[in-house]
Structure formats: C-alpha cells, structure tokens
C-alpha cells in the first residue's frame, strides 16, 4: 500500500549497467516512499547504488524495472525544472561570480532574470553568503563554495533537491557545521531532499527517514523513520535513541 500523499514512490526499482557483454547490477529491488518535505538520507558503502538511485530520480538515467513515480496531485512534479542537484564538489564555474553561478539553472531554464536575481540574492542570504554575491569562487572556502552550490540548486525553486555526498569533501568540523546549516535551510525552504552519504551518523542526524543500501549485491536493506525531535542540534548525537539508530545501520552494513 502506498500512502496517497507520497511525493516519491519507488517500488521494486532495478538498474543494470551493461558494459559490452558484462552486466552489472547496480540496484535491485529498491522500494521506498518519500513524503513531501521529507529529508531522506540514503546511506551505504561505495558501490551500493546510492548515486545511481539519485541519477534515476533526477531523470538522467532510466531504470530497468519496477516503478518510479515522482509527484502527486497536491505536489505536481515537472522533471525538467523541479530537480536541484548538489554534488560532492561544488562545481562552481570559476569564471563566474557567486551570484552568476547561482543563476546558472535559471539561465538554462530561461526564467525571467530580474526575479531570478532577486531570488538568488535571497538564497545567498539564506545559505549564509549574503555579501559574497560579487566574489569569485576562488575567494571562498570549500564550505562556502558548497553553500553557493546549495543556493544554486534552489534558485529555480525545484520541488526536489538531490544531494550526492555534498559534504564528503569537507573537513570534519566544517561538515558538522554544514549539517546544521542544511537542516536550517531545509526547514526554511520546505524542500523535499534526498541526501546520499556514506556517513552513518550524518544520515541519522539529518534524515527524517533513513534508507540503507548494501553493496555486493547492491540491494536495499532497510528503510526506517528517524523519530528524533526537530530542530536538531549536535547534542542529539549523545542521546540514547541516536545510538540505537546508528547501531541499527552499522549492523546492516556488517560492521558490528
């Protein structure tokens, strides 16, 4: 049974990559639902197919079996303009100032630029980069560049934001800080976010729901809601139920 209000509905999704005659099963039987406004963390080791799953959700790769449905009558979804993406690297264009970098999706979609520019400024303020509009990427630290990348992912007001290990390249302290920032941005923007990570405690800390994927063979191992209170602060990590959640994931990934 699917909850009628699900924004993303995956059931029995399968993905096979073919290189020559060889077949590689990237995902088998992934099934989970995401409610509108949820922040779902996909966690698993390298090669578990979590990035592949994001590419399927973004519409970049077709799936080979099962059902992928995004959008609902109350939350219609246009795959060409309702996806925002953040990657492990900020991938800002070096020759563009921060504001113009944030505007890239608006340019590609041909949105009215005056309104987009105002929105980009608001978003830069939201991600904590107010005043850096006219800087070049090289003038920003790694964490700040990633904030700009998040603003870029939001500029065309997509319904779904896909994040592929967005803080994986940052140092541990910046990463903690960005986790808190992401929760704030998520709350304020109200977006549905699918967040891929291999950090177990990051997944539990951020997610309203955690989906666990395992490698070899790639399959979905668990899917559970995280009932930790919001707004979440770092001391939540010392709570007993936080430990219960993380141990549950560790066990599935064969680390306990």
């Amino acid at each position: 049974m699917t909850a009628p209000q699900a924004f993303i509905h995956l059931s029995g999704v399968r993905k096979v990559y073919r290189t020559g005659r060889r077949e590689h099963l990237a995902i088998s039987d992934a099934s989970f639902d995401v409610l509108p406004g949820e922040l779902v963390a996909l966690v698993g080791p390298s090669g578990c197919g979590k990035s592949t799953l994001l590419k399927i959700l973004s519409g970049l790769h077709p799936h080979d079996g099962g059902e992928v449905r995004i959008g609902s009558p109350s939350h219609p979804f246009d795959p060409s303009r309702d996806v925002g993406m953040v990657f492990q690297q900020p991938l800002l264009l070096k020759w563009r100032r921060v504001l113009d970098n944030v505007l890239l999706p608006a340019e590609i979609l041909g949105l009215p630029m005056a309104a987009a520019r105002d929105r980009a400024r608001d978003l830069l303020a939201l991600v904590g980069l107010g005043g850096s509009e006219d800087k070049f990427p090289y003038e920003l630290s790694g964490g700040m560049q990633q904030r700009a990348a998040i603003a870029r992912a939001l500029v065309h007001d997509p319904k779904l934001v896909l994040m592929d290990e967005p803080f994986g390249a940052l140092d541990a302290l910046t990463r903690e800080k960005m986790n808190l920032e992401l929760l704030r941005i998520w709350k304020e923007s109200g977006k549905t976010i699918v967040f891929v990570t291999h950090g177990i405690s990051e997944a539990v800390f951020l997610g309203t729901r955690v989906v666990v994927l395992t490698a070899g063979p790639a399959r979905m191992a668990d899917n559970f809601p995280v009932e930790l209170p919001h707004p979440r602060t770092l001391d939540i990590k010392t709570r007993e139920d936080f430990g219960v959640y993380t141990r549950r994931v560790y066990r599935l990934l064969g680390m306990e």
Partner: protein, 255 residues
C-alpha cells in the same frame, strides 16, 4: 629592504635587469676590445637605426605582417578546428591522429616546398608562421573543450539544457585558459616560423635583411635586426598576456 610584492617594484627590477644586460654587453665589448664584426657595441648597434639604407620601418612592417598574420590565422583555424572536433566525435577520431602526425613534421622542412608552391614573399612566410603556430592552439583548445566535469554536465542535463547551452555557458568559457596556454606557446613559434621563412626565401623583412648584411659582415645591423625581431615577439606575447588578464579569471589561468 626592497619588497617584491608591489608591481611597481617588480617592473623597476625588470627594467633594471634589462639595462644591466646592456651594460654588461657594453663593458664586455669595450674592455675586451672585441672586434666590431664579432660583437658590436650597444652604441654601434643602436646607431644603425639612424641609417636609412636599412629601411627598418618597411622591414619591420613586413616581418610583423608575417608574424601577426600567421598567428591570427593560426588562432582562427586552430580554434575552429577544435570546435569542429568537439561537435563531431567522428571527425575528431579521423583527423586528430592525422594532425598529431602532421605536427611531427618539422615545419622548417616544409619551407622549400612552400616556396615551390607559393613563390617567395610575405604570403609563404605568413603560411610558415601559421603552420608552426596552429598546432599548439588546436591541440590545447581541443583538450580544453573536452575537460568538462561529468557532474556539471549532469546538472545541466537534469534541467534539459541544450547542447548549445552546455557549449556557450560551460565548455567554451572553461576552455579559455587552455586556449590561452596554447596561444602563448604559439606566439613564440610564430616568430620563429616567420623568420625561418624569410631565411629560406624572401626579398623583404628583418630575416631577409640579416642575410643581406651578413655578406658584408655588418654585425651591428644583424644585432639590431635580432633585437627588433625580439621586440616584435614580446609585443605579440604581451598582447596575449593582456587579453588573458582581461578575459580569464585569475584562478582559472593555467600557468
């Protein structure tokens, strides 16, 4: 204590170093009593500028035309060919290996052929400068256009961005630093190409002049010609550096 941080200090030092070289040259010739036909003094060298028989201006104009003309042609053809290659993988697969082989031909060896085909004069020498300058521009531009982050491509594709948008917004500006790095190498080569062309066959230009005065062991004029050729090369290189400063963000420049 001199600080090297300010551009003014660096410029001053650069000028002083050049003047220092002229001074060393002067002292070497004067104190060593070096014969004039072996190495002329700076005064003797610069004095040739006043002699109208050398027709400096017209010779400079000819050599400059060959260098700048060949270079400009190389830039246009090199970048256009690289663009064609990025737009058609098939054409690239056919022609790029061919061009790499052609690049291995010592362009100097083509000189006698070019003269057979085009007689001698400004045009074949321009062609010489072109043939030697075009490859670095073509190869670095092609490489720059290929260097595109797959994730960035995904980002644009997820928004159903067109190939033209990918090209104008990401590929071309991303390739600019590469184009400039090829242009810098090509600037040096274009000068060499034009002069070699003049050596092989011509009736005008600074290289031609050098051969003419060599017969009479007029070393001061030969020195002056070399200096002027160097100045032309520096001018071209300077223009390229200036354009790079204007067009390429500091962080994106390839050193």
């Amino acid at each position: 204590m001199i600080t090297l941080d300010s551009p003014a200090a660096r410029w001053t030092l650069a000028v002083l170093a050049h003047l220092g070289l002229v001074l060393v040259w002067y002292l070497f010739v004067e104190l060593g009593e070096v014969p004039r036909f072996v190495m002329p003094s700076p005064q003797a060298t610069f004095a040739t500028l006043l002699d109208p028989n050398y027709r400096w201006w017209s010779n400079i104009a000819v050599t400059a035309t060959e260098i700048f003309g060949g270079y400009f042609l190389a830039l246009v053809v090199g970048v256009l060919l690289a663009l064609v290659f990025t737009w058609s993988r098939t054409l690239e697969a056919i022609f790029l290996p061919l061009l790499v082989t052609l690049n291995m031909i010592p362009k100097v060896a083509l000189g006698p052929l070019i003269i057979v085909w085009f007689k001698y004069g400004v045009f074949p020498n321009t062609l010489m400068a072109f043939s030697i300058a075009v490859f670095p521009i073509l190869l670095t531009t092609a490489r720059g256009l290929r260097e595109i982050e797959p994730d960035l491509l995904d980002l644009v594709r997820s928004l159903r961005g067109s190939r033209w948008q990918i090209f104008t917004k990401i590929q071309l500006p991303g390739a600019l630093p590469y184009i400039f790095s090829g242009m810098k190498v090509a600037a040096i080569l274009a000068v060499a190409g034009a002069i070699v062309g003049e050596f092989l066959g011509s009736d005008r230009g600074l290289g031609y002049l050098m051969l003419q005065v060599q017969v009479t062991l007029d070393t001061p004029a030969m020195f002056m010609a070399v200096i002027l050729i160097t100045v032309l090369g520096m001018l071209l290189y300077g223009i390229v550096l200036l354009l790079e400063r204007l067009l390429v963000v500091r962080d994106a420049r390839l050193s």
